[in-house]
């Protein structure tokens, strides 16, 4: 409980700090909005077309793969926590790791072979 209160205090202070930093320039800075300043800056060339251009689907694939692998990696954490103390009780957790790592390695090998990450 005390830990959470300390976190809440930090959150409040950080929120205040970030808000203050961003608000203070709005107050201190001059205001002279000319059209050139409010336009999109693309190296001084007039922007053409819709800025929300279509992008390669590889980015989407990377996001999906990240989701999969991150969930898999998260399962390592509780295992790692108890591993050291379980060694004296026998090799069960080591076998569990080997099976799990094997499955993960097959998945990784597959996406590397498919060359999903080759972006060009």
């Amino acid at each position: 409980m005390e830990n959470l209160i300390a976190l809440a205090v930090l959150f409040a202070v950080a929120l205040l700090l970030c808000g203050a930093i961003l608000a203070i320039t709005q107050i201190l800075g001059p205001k002279n909005p000319v059209p050139e300043r409010l336009g999109t800056y693309e190296c001084g060339v007039k922007p053409e077309g819709n800025p929300r251009i279509p992008f390669k689907s590889s980015f989407y694939l990377i996001a999906v793969l990240f989701l999969l692998f991150d969930v898999e990696a998260a399962f390592f954490l509780p295992w790692a926590l108890v591993y050291r103390d379980s060694i004296s009780a026998g090799p069960e957790l080591l076998w569990a790791l080997l099976v799990y790592l094997g499955l993960m390695a097959v998945g990784l090998f597959y996406i590397l072979r498919k060359k999903i990450l080759k972006l060009n």
């Binding site: 320039t25 190296c43 251009i53 390592f76 790692a80 103390d85």
Partner: protein, 355 residues
């Protein structure tokens, strides 16, 4: 909890937060000076002696600049983005143990904002929220360069979060805890009789993976693909000006300090001096508070070493290409992280709990 605890909590938060923010001006100065040294030019030398007041001048200039919001942006997300990148950077420092404890007003005070028992997961979880700031900033700017920069940045940050997480697993295995404080307490004394009892000697491969991944997580060169000023103008913060622009940099430097702190804590013994035990040191110094000051200085020196390493590498190595970056993460670092877990597990099994 009494009123005293609240006051203590608030003063600890303010002191440590202000202390960590001091990293930003110092790093700006050091970075510019080291860059100048490497490129054989004087660097900042006009404001104050040796240009020491340059960061202050920079901050004042940022504060007094006009802060326009371009017309065709998504105003809400555009304003939210710098906020979202600075806030996680401020929050992660809560879990870093800076020193053991001081005795003030007859109480033991831990020099750490809060000793969560899942502090490692807390840092990884909150730290990865920073990607939202970059993604929102790039998308809301309504600028092609910003969009490409933020997309690259998002895929880079998620790709390097995996090696970071996998490297951490090895450390958790060795120390059997998620609490960073516990980890530091276990790194006291000597290892094999002649080495300091630090995590790097138990997890050399894990440290290497963590170091490389931490460069990419903080968007530093050689992995600063989100910015790549040669091809994308300035990447996701092209449309930002004034303090909003500076906020992104504050967040970057604070994340850098957190990463350096995390490496110090997990792999370099945190507040411990090499070889010397705390109880021995306490005997020599004779006071817990004096010991605490020595510990804080030790911690700061170690963090400063890593920050300096970041600066040196930034000005030494050229930038990667984007597909090389992805290859490095998925093709090398993630397999290395898995191998590290496997090796640690097997070695720990045959040595009976100790690597």
């Amino acid at each position: 909890m009494e009123a005293f605890d609240y006051i203590l909590s608030i003063s600890k938060v303010v002191l440590i937060l202000v202390g960590v923010i001091q990293v930003v001006p110092i790093m700006i100065y050091v970075e510019r000076k080291v860059a100048a040294l490497i490129q054989d030019r004087p660097g900042p030398n006009r404001v104050g002696p040796l240009g020491l007041f340059q960061p202050i001048a920079d901050a004042v200039k940022f504060l007094f600049k006009e802060d326009p919001i371009p017309l065709n942006t998504n105003r809400f997300l555009y304003t939210l983005a710098p906020f979202l990148s600075l806030l996680p950077a401020c929050l992660v420092i809560a879990a870093l143990p800076i020193a053991d404890k001081a005795i003030l007003f007859g109480r033991e005070i831990y020099i750490q904002i809060t000793d969560l028992d899942v502090s490692l997961i807390y840092i990884l979880a909150i730290g990865s929220l920073g990607v939202y700031g970059i993604l929102f900033g790039g998308w809301a700017s309504n600028n092609k360069y910003s969009l490409i920069g933020s997309l690259r940045s998002a895929s880079q940050m998620v790709s390097y979060e995996l090696p970071l997480g996998l490297a951490v697993v090895g450390t958790v295995m060795v120390y059997g805890t998620f609490s960073l404080r516990e980890m530091v307490l276990q790194q006291e004394g000597t290892f094999l009789g002649f080495l300091p009892n630090w995590g790097i000697f138990y997890q050399p491969l894990g440290f290497l993976v963590f170091l490389v991944a931490s460069f990419a997580e903080t968007n530093r060169l050689p992995f600063d693909l989100p910015e790549t000023e040669a091809e994308l103008v300035a990447g996701f913060h092209t449309e930002y000006g004034s303090m909003k622009f500076a906020t992104f940099f504050m967040a970057e430097y604070m994340n850098l300090a957190t990463m350096a702190g995390l490496m110090t804590v997990m792999y370099f013994g945190g507040w411990h001096l090499p070889w010397v035990k705390d109880s021995q040191l306490l005997e020599w110094l004779g006071s817990q508070n004096l010991l605490c000051i020595v510990q804080i200085i030790t911690y700061i020196v170690k963090v400063a070493f890593f920050l300096f390493l970041y600066v040196l590498i930034r000005w030494t190595l050229p930038r990667f290409r984007f597909d090389q970056l992805m290859e490095l993460s998925w093709g090398s670092l993630i397999p290395l992280g898995l191998i590290n877990i496997l090796l640690s597990a097997v070695i720990m099994y045959f040595t009976g709990g100790k690597v």
